[in-house]
């Protein structure tokens, strides 16, 4: 696994600086909304057909979309997680095509789009340490770059629409097979109106050394972004995929409902890292699932900082014997936010192991919920399960709940479960402030310390970013 050889103490060096403490959601800016096509507001069969037509899709995909739309209409809204009653499906735009065509040079992008990514820092990151970058703006991937050497080795990294066009056999084989439309209402919605997202294919025996990054940006108001990602990693291969997301602050609501399916074949390993930082008017309702074959490894690193409400439970279906699944999760809920996040691990085969580590922080009336499911099927002998969820509550108004479900149908396994809830202690704050650290810096330090077991797993650049974001959030609600 790639790591930049820098002494450990440097990791937190740039992150916690007082200068960064004047709070502002840095990505809340918006650009004038220009587009080459926008589907009319609201959702109908016509909109679904329209999207498929514009993309000149094969017939089977159009049918898949229409069927999914029917399922969406029939499915109930989930009533067990975050409050979704404010979502107004008729008042959203479901498809916006921002540019005529995709480019592979930042300079070729329209000025306001280029500026957006400059401000977010994507081109800079690309230069430093990424093997490939994909930038989605509204409904389409507008920019893409990919390492030529990897291309020669047969690695595919492109947007999902291009994937469908150029590699229809692979797509048809895997698309919607792990997360079928009837899985849940938002999976059905995504299946009906999906656009953009990534298609990643790593052939046998190829280890992609540097991460591939996808960047998702919503700019328009009342918009729904429905990217669809499919990752297939063949025997003995490795890839690390990273995604980030931001949006402008509007008084109206937007919706982000993605579907991510990952197939990890024998002895392969996939790591999928998310740093979700939507503005607080975005509903983030995402279905993510991976399937592991024999001795394969799937690792989700899931960081949820933004959005009004998130419901997301990255899952690993441990199909092959000896395979391993891991979810490292961080959730931060500030004022008006509810992070309902967690993980699902399903053990189908013997000698499989799963590990869930969840750290949540709530502050200023925010609410975090850990929701997890571990299911061990009969015959999954000698499997092991480890679940640890820690919640940190920073003040009296904030709230944290834990919903750990375990369905164990096999006796010959080992299960470990730990859960803690702690309040940020006055004593610890006093200890730090008495050494000359301001209260908000001290809170930031303690919170960063609390999530350290997860941040240390994230590539350096992202852990710095994450620590910085958390510091921003911390200081923001103090003043």
């Amino acid at each position: 696994m790639f790591r930049i050889p820098i002494p450990e103490f440097f990791i937190h060096m740039q992150d916690i600086t007082r200068s960064a403490l004047d709070f502002e959601y840095k990505y809340g800016f918006s650009m004038p909304s220009r587009y080459t096509f926008r589907a009319k507001k609201g959702l109908s069969e016509e909109t679904v057909r329209n999207i498929s037509q514009i993309k000149k899709e094969p017939n089977w995909m159009t049918k898949f979309r229409l069927k999914s739309y029917d399922i969406f209409k029939q499915k109930q809204m989930p009533d067990w997680g975050a409050d979704l009653t404010r979502i107004d499906f008729d008042n959203l735009y479901y498809y916006i095509k921002p540019t005529e065509k995709q480019v592979n040079s930042w300079r070729k992008l329209p000025k306001e789009i280029k500026e957006t990514y400059d401000r977010i820092g994507v081109p800079e990151a690309e230069k430093k340490f990424l093997a490939g970058v994909s930038a989605q703006y509204e409904s389409e991937v507008v920019y893409e770059s990919f390492n030529k050497e990897l291309k020669k080795l047969g690695v595919i990294f492109c947007d999902m629409d291009t994937g469908l066009r150029l590699y229809p056999e692979i797509v048809k084989k895997y698309f919607g097979k792990l997360i079928p439309p009837h899985d849940n209402k938002f999976a059905a919605l995504n299946s009906a109106v999906w656009s953009g997202g990534s298609f990643v294919y790593v052939p046998k025996g190829v280890k992609v050394g540097l991460p591939l990054q996808a960047y998702f940006r919503i700019n328009a108001e009342r918009f729904g972004q429905f990217e669809r990602t499919l990752i297939i990693v063949e025997e003995g291969s490795f890839v690390h995929y990273v995604e980030g997301c931001t949006a402008p602050i509007y008084t109206t609501d937007s919706l982000h409902a993605a579907v991510v399916e990952i197939f990890v074949h024998k002895n392969a390993r996939v790591r999928y890292t998310t740093v979700q930082n939507w503005s607080n008017n975005v509903y983030n309702l995402v279905t993510k699932r991976a399937r592991t074959d024999e001795s394969a490894v799937m690792e989700w690193v899931d960081c949820n900082l933004g959005s009004r409400a998130t419901m997301k439970y990255p899952s690993v279906y441990l199909y092959g014997k000896g395979s391993r699944g891991e979810v490292l999760s961080i959730a931060y809920a500030g004022k008006g936010q509810h992070q309902d996040a967690g993980a699902k691990m399903l053990h189908f085969a013997p000698n499989t192991s799963s590990r869930i580590i969840s750290k949540s922080i709530s502050k200023a009336g925010g609410r975090t919920s850990y929701r997890g499911l571990v299911q061990v099927m009969p015959g999954a002998k000698k499997s092991s399960v480890f679940v640890s969820c820690d919640a940190l509550i920073l003040d009296e108004e904030s709230r944290s709940d834990t919903y750990p479900y375990m369905k164990i149908k096999e006796n010959d396994i080992s299960v470990q479960h730990e859960a803690t809830v702690e309040k940020l202690g006055e004593e610890k704050l006093f200890y730090l402030t008495s050494k000359g650290i301001s209260k908000s810096d001290a809170e930031g330090l303690l919170v960063n310390g609390f999530i350290e077991p997860v941040t240390k797993e994230i590539p350096l650049e992202y852990s710095i970013e994450l620590n910085r974001l958390i510091n921003l959030e911390m200081s923001g609600s103090v003043g």
């Binding site: 450990e8 103490f9 440097f10 937190h12 060096m13 916690i16 007082r18 006055e426 004593e427 610890k428 006093f430 200890y431 730090l432 402030t433 008495s434 050494k435 000359g436 650290i437 301001s438 209260k439 810096d441 001290a442 330090l445 303690l446 960063n448 310390g449 609390f450 999530i451 350290e452 077991p453």
Partner: protein, 239 residues
């Protein structure tokens, strides 16, 4: 440099410190002694600004400035340092991170790192302790040495050592006292202790005895020896 005038301190509705009066002078070593529960730690906490300890009367002046209403970090910035009796374990936070945030003036992290390493060596702190979560799984002696390390780097004017000698073995105590003695020039020390033990290594200019929240006696280094010999009960405020 520090003037405590008619200080009365409450925790909740309970009065712990009663009408405490004393003037601390720059560059002197003070020992504050007293039995358990007499209010020694309360004085330490109230000087550092612990929010639970409320000033109910009197005043605190540090270098002629009233500090009674200042937050702990502001007091630290003025040069007051409290070495904790039981330093708290901080998960995921190491001493470097703490000092980097506490030291606004030190801009260069590498130089700071060097200073920390050098001082740690002097104090006999193992290198791995510097990168580990602060005070987590450390022995009593290690914790106190880490407090000393912070004191040395932050370079305060007034250092309050709350029971620096409890939970510390004799070798660590020697090391700590030696270090304190070497670095005392120009600084004011307030050493809070039950026993005379540490005072064998670092000689106080003045010994204060506190009982039941009141300052009952003060005197020279000899007073500590008397306490060691006869115990607190024999201390008669009237003599």
């Amino acid at each position: 440099m520090l003037s405590v005038k008619n200080l009365t301190v409450k925790v909740g509705s309970k009065t712990i410190l009663k009408d405490f009066n004393f003037k601390f002078k720059k560059g002197k070593v003070y020992a504050l002694m007293g039995p358990n529960g007499s209010g020694k730690s309360t004085l330490a906490f109230v000087l550092a600004g612990h929010p639970t300890y409320k000033i109910d009367g009197g005043s605190l002046k540090f270098e002629a400035r009233d500090i009674g209403g200042l937050s702990p970090d502001k007091r630290a910035k003025l040069g007051i340092f409290l070495s904790f009796q039981s330093p708290l374990a901080l998960s995921g936070v190491n001493v470097f991170q703490l000092l980097r945030l506490a030291l606004t003036k030190q801009k260069d992290p590498l130089a700071l790192k060097k200073r920390i390493d050098k001082t740690a060596k002097k104090l006999g702190i193992k290198e791995e302790l510097l990168n580990r979560s602060l005070n987590e799984g450390s022995s009593g002696g290690e914790k106190k040495k880490l407090e000393m390390l912070q004191a040395a780097i932050l370079n305060p004017k007034l250092l309050i050592f709350d029971e620096i000698d409890t939970g510390v073995d004799i070798d660590a105590l020697k090391k700590i006292s030696q270090f304190l003695d070497e670095t005392k020039s120009g600084k004011t020390y307030l050493i809070i202790t039950h026993y005379n033990r540490i005072l064998h290594y670092i000689k106080p200019d003045k010994v204060l005895v506190i009982m039941d929240g009141r300052l009952v006696k003060s005197g020279g280094a000899k007073l500590a020896e008397e306490i060691e010999k006869y115990g607190y009960e024999k201390i008669n405020p009237k003599t």
